[in-house]
């Protein structure tokens, strides 16, 4: 199994290690509920170095990214910002979702998911070739995520000035960006392993709680953030995955991969909705959801530590109405459809 450079640290901290897409990663360090609550109310640190970092090289990086992605990197033109986008195939299917960071000096960095590392490397290299853009896979980089309402207190000594949401600060080969996967104020730190281990040790010695993948999943679900491979994959488009907003058609002259195919898929009958129920028991991925006139399927479901009820995402028809039902252990339970961002819809 592959391991991040912090593997032994996780074990020392009592991490319950599991196989995650071929990587030995901490699921939790004792209680995923405590970890979840710590991030919602205070601060926590995640090792997400299993994700993939690709640094671009060459004159035409922006042209390449404008062709590669449906979201338009021109939006952040010259600003030290980050941009979320899915990456599509020519049929408009979602290959992955990722964040592009502007590092300054006309240079960009892509951070994408773990399970798609190798596939993305070959796809990016293929698409980048005609643009003479090089793809440097930083496979041994450190990615830490410091997340929670008090995260700023622990990061402020490392950044020159306060950075607003989706901003990037890149100095001395340490990139700190105000991005994350929890719905909280937070920062992601990308640097080499030597520096990464210093950051990690510093946070841990200041009593920042390490957070495992189990809490990462409940945090992202409450925040309405999709998980690639679970809530969407190549058989889906941004339109049926609640991320239609990433398709930027403002520049009518811009061509990007999947653009033509998406024109026909724009009126997708299916959408990704949130649901919650007050009833006992957790509806999990794969469960069938029934509503008047049709049915759909749960893509992710969990017990929400913040709202103390069963929440999830489901792919259903646009006209699913407000109420649905499902069968859980031979019992019919009633669901309410909602916005996927439960931090908004249930607050």
């Amino acid at each position: 199994m592959k391991a991040t450079y912090l593997n032994s640290k996780h074990k020392d901290l009592g991490g319950f290690m599991v196989d995650f897409s071929g990587w030995e990663m901490p699921l939790h360090y004792g209680s995923q509920l405590n970890e979840h609550n710590e991030v919602r109310t205070n601060v926590g640190i995640f090792d997400v170095s299993h994700m993939a970092v690709f640094d671009l090289d060459g004159e035409k990086q922006q042209d390449f990214l404008r062709f590669l992605l449906p979201n338009d990197i021109k939006k952040i033109n010259g600003q030290n910002k980050a941009l979320y986008s899915p990456m599509l195939n020519y049929e408009g299917g979602i290959l992955d979702d990722l964040i592009v960071y502007y590092l300054g000096n006309k240079s960009f960095r892509i951070v994408s998911n773990c399970a798609t590392r190798e596939k993305n490397l070959s796809w990016l290299s293929k698409i980048a070739e005609p643009f003479n853009v090089g793809i440097d896979f930083k496979s041994d980089y450190s990615i830490l995520a410091l997340q929670g309402p008090n995260s700023h207190k622990f990061i402020k000594s490392y950044i020159e000035k306060d950075i607003s949401k989706f901003s990037v600060c890149n100095t001395d080969d340490v990139m700190i960006a105000s991005t994350g996967y929890t719905g909280e104020l937070g920062y992601e730190i990308i640097c080499d392993q030597e520096k990464g281990i210093k950051f990690w040790n510093n946070f841990i010695s200041n009593d920042v709680q390490p957070i495992g993948l189990a809490a990462r999943d409940t945090l992202r679900l409450e925040a309405g953030l999709n998980l690639y491979g679970t809530d969407m994959d190549q058989t889906n488009t941004p339109y049926d995955s609640n991320i239609g907003w990433t398709i930027d058609l403002n520049d009518i002259d811009r061509d990007f991969i999947g653009k033509n195919a998406l024109k026909e898929k724009k009126d997708s009958k299916k959408i990704l909705k949130g649901f919650y129920t007050e009833e006992r028991g957790v509806l999990r991925g794969g469960a069938e959801v029934i509503f008047e006139g049709g049915s759909g399927v749960v893509t992710s479901g969990t017990w929400s530590p913040t709202f103390k009820k069963n929440i999830g995402f489901c792919r259903v028809d646009k006209n699913c109405g407000e109420i649905g039902s499902a069968v859980l252990r031979d019992k019919k339970i009633t669901l309410k459809f909602s916005n996927t961002n439960f931090l908004e819809s249930l607050k």
Binding site: L27, Q32, A214, G281, W303, P305, R329
Partner: protein
Amino acid sequence: MSDNEKNLKFLDSHEWARDDDGVVTVGISNHAQELLGDIVYVELPQIGSNVSQKDGVAIVESVKAASDVYSPLTGEIVEINEKLSDSPEIINSSPYKDGWFFKVKPQNINELDEMLDSDAYKKLSEE
């Protein structure tokens, strides 16, 4: 292993049982609660219901997964741990004491002998 744990009998499906003067208390093992992680729901059997050996009679659900809890013996459910409905986390913190699930009055107490002793269970759960 605690003394408490040594006196218990186990199923390979991770339930424990203890004979208290002819009434058998049943719960899930420490290993099982570790595997499940934070427990959020429990469904318990009805008091007075008749159960058969290896019937799924309760359900324990963590944030991660749901799992059946089997009765190690045939008999009648005579008591359930009502505290678990509101505070299922007791199972995580005290699987062998406060986190018990139900008590069964067995038809045949000798069915306990078919269960694993704590050493055999420990060996199995370490595999």
